[in-house]
Every structure is written in C-alpha cells, then in structure tokens.
C-alpha cells in the first residue's frame, strides 16, 4: 500500500533542492530525480546579485552546487536522468525513470521548472547550436567581434544583451513592442550600453541560412507597418521567456492555459499528495528565492500530508 519512498522530488533547481533539504531534515529520506537540465536555470547564469545573504553576489552554478551539497548532507538520495512517465491516478504514485527503473512514492513534489522558449518558426530550431542559442553565457563566447541579435524585451533579454556585448561587435535587440518589459535598472543599463541598439515592434519571422547550416541573417517584420527587413547577424539569442515542464502531467493534474500546474492552499495540486513548487507553478514571480521558498512550503505540506495518512496514524497509535 505504501510506496518505495515517502517522498520523491522531481527537479534539482532551487525549488527541488530546498524541498529535498527540508524533507531530508524531517527524516523522510527523499529521493530526488535531477532531470536533464540538472541544477535548473541558475546553471545558465553568471553572477546572481539578488540571492539574499551574498552581499557581493554569487555565481549561479556555485550557488546550485552548494544547495545540492546541503541537500545531500542531510541524506537526500540524488538520481541522475529524467522521468519518462508518471502515474498519479493510482496509489502509491509511480514513476518510470529514463534508465527503465520504476519507483513508487506516497507523496510527490514536482519542481521540474520551466525551459527556454523558442520562436517556433522552424528555422530557429534547425539552426540551434549553429548560431541560434537560448543561453548567452554558454554560447556568447563564439561570437567574438561579430554582430548578433537578441529577441525579447524582459529582464532576461536585457541581461543577455548586456552580457553579449563583452563578445559581440554589436547587439541588436528585437522586441515585439515599442517599450521594454524589463525592470528600470536593467533598461537603464541596456540603454547606456553603446554596443546595443533596438529594433522596436519587430518580429523575427525567419533565420537564414539553412542551406549553409549557419546563421547569416534574420528577417524581421515590423508589426506596425508590415515592412520586412533583413538584418545580417552571425548569431541569434532567444530570450522570450519560458514554458513550464509539465508535459508528463497533462491529463493527470490540473494545469492552466499556459500549462503551469495550478496550486491551491500552499503547494497542493489537484491530486492530494502531489505538490508543486517553483517555476513549474509560478509564472508571476519566477525568482530563485521564490522558487526556494515554495520548495520549502511543498516539503512542509508533504510532511503534514504524510502525518495525516492512515498508516501513519496507525503507527502513532501503536506508540501511544
């Protein structure tokens, strides 16, 4: 009746690792499946300046390594790889791992996060790794002295654009609107950078050159006039937000129109015993610290849920 594990956690970003830390310290012996994008989005960043406690900032990958160590120190078992299938309709819940193993659990904490969105115009995906990228810190290096473009108008887009000026000869920001969505401080930094210029009301409709297998230009349509221009660039960085990693749970958990897991009363999902934390259920705040906070909430919610389960109450009665 009860599963192999009291708690399984999916995801190893700030939400998953914090949930692991708390459930491990509560003696629930959590097992954490890291996922393909282990460490989460902070692994793609450089200096994180808004994680409380680090007055001078901390490198994203270093912060994640420290969180991982801390969760492991209290006994979290970490499994590399991905989950390929879940069954949340029967109890205990069961999961299939990418290596073929099947695990069962009494509670599940989903912290699978969100992954970078692509333009979905075909040519962008086909030229991935050939000049199109969703990770400036990974790939900016390859564009030293070359002109590039960044798509997007939010904080991440500005951060990428500013970072890329370290390498690129020129960075053109293409944004669908006539003003940025980014915070004031990021806007000011971007406007002040002489290497960055802006193409407003622009939509990238094509990336060339598919035949050569490398980026030679992008085709941008002006959304107000309909005019089309071709911009010669060697690289295109896409920073237009994220989509939640919830395809595994479709049809089993309540999701909103954008695919985010709907939570209520803390981190509870539509299935009792399944909890969600971090970006997989949050398209509003999307911060490392809010993800960690909700990971802690999910751990506490899972612990209380387990305390209320019949077999647990039975144990308690025996003790009494």
């Amino acid at each position: 009746m009860s599963g192999d594990r009291k708690v399984i956690i999916l995801g190893s970003g700030p939400a998953g690792l914090t949930a692991a830390l708390y459930t491990a310290r509560a003696n629930l012996a959590p097992l954490l499946v890291e996922g393909l994008e282990a460490g989460g989005q902070l692994m793609l960043t450089t200096m994180v300046e808004n994680w409380p406690g680090f007055a001078d900032g901390i490198m994203g990958p270093d912060l994640m390594a420290a969180m991982r160590q801390q969760a492991a120190r209290f006994g979290t078992e970490m499994v590399q790889g991905d989950v390929t299938n879940v069954d949340l309709q029967h109890r205990p819940f069961s999961l299939m791992l990418s290596d073929g193993r099947v695990l069962t659990c009494d509670t599940l904490i989903i912290a699978t996060g969100a992954s970078a969105r692509w333009l979905e115009i075909g040519s962008d995906r086909k030229l991935a790794g050939r000049g199109v990228s969703t990770c400036a810190t990974c790939d900016g290096y390859f564009f030293r002295g070359r002109p590039i473009a960044v798509v997007g108008g939010g904080d991440s887009a500005m951060e990428e654009a500013i970072y890329l000026t370290k390498f690129a000869s020129k960075v053109s920001v293409v944004h669908r609107r006539s003003s940025l969505r980014a915070s004031k401080i990021m806007q000011d930094k971007a406007y002040a950078n002489p290497k960055i210029d802006f193409i407003w009301n622009g939509e990238v409709i094509e990336v060339k050159d598919l035949d050569k297998g490398e980026v030679s230009s992008i085709v941008v349509r002006d959304l107000t006039t309909g005019a089309v221009q071709e911009l010669p660039v060697d690289g295109l960085f896409i920073a237009i937000g994220h989509t939640p990693n919830t395809h595994l749970f479709r049809g089993q958990l309540q999701l909103d129109a954008q695919g985010y897991i709907i939570t209520h009363d803390g981190t509870r999902t539509s299935v009792p015993g399944v909890f969600a934390a971090g970006d997989v259920q949050d398209h509003v705040y999307r911060q490392a610290i809010t993800a960690a906070g909700s990971g802690c909430m999910a751990a506490i919610d899972a612990e209380r849920y387990l305390e209320g389960l019949p077999q647990h109450m039975g144990e308690a009665q025996t003790v009494a």
């Binding site: 393909l36 790889g81 992954s115 790794g129 050939r130 990770c135 790939d139 490398e214």
Partner: protein, 123 residues
Amino acid sequence: MASDKVMTFTDTNFETETRAGVVLVDFWAEWCGPCRRLAPTVDALAADFDGRVKVGKLNVDDNPNVAGRFQIRGIPTLLLFKNGQLEETVVGLAGKEDLARMIERHLDRPVETEPQEVARAQK
C-alpha cells in the same frame, strides 16, 4: 571528477586520435553550466563503452582550431566520428540512454533495429 576513461583532445592530438574507430568528442568549457551537467553523462559513457569507443573532451578555450574547424557555435556539443568521418552532431543536453543508442548504431555489428533519431534536448 572526470573518469580516467575520458581522454583529453587538443588541437595537437585531435587528428591522430580521431583517425580510427568510433570516437565521441565533448566540446566544453569551464564557464559553461550545461557542460557541467553533461560531464557525468560523458564520464558514464566512457566507462560503459571502454575499449570499444574512444570518449574524450575538448576544451574550446584551449583548442580554438578544432572548435573553429567544426564551426562549433554552442556548447556542449558532442561530435561522433567513425574512422575520421563526422557521423553525428548533438547540440545541447541529451540523456545517457539516447546517446548510448546513438553510439551503438555506429559500432560494427549486425543492426537489428531501425536507426532512431536522437532526441535533441534544448539547453
């Protein structure tokens, strides 16, 4: 952390080391977060295919010539060579099982199954 089964490719040894057999090259750099994620997978593949496939890493910072020759524009990128010929390119993260299946397809033995497309995960 790198396993001793993983070799190091350089601008100097690349040509000789990839000339014969099946060779998997992981293009990476210190500053690349996703490369750190992929490292344990590459280590595991090196151990699993020990003696059958040469698995190694090439630091793009230290070895710009090879990276330039194959027009690497993003890392991690895995290239698979067979007898010096480039056979497969995998950009970004990929699961160990998918990569193992890809390698198997290039090993000399009767092929029972249809070749499958390797999942190309985004970073």
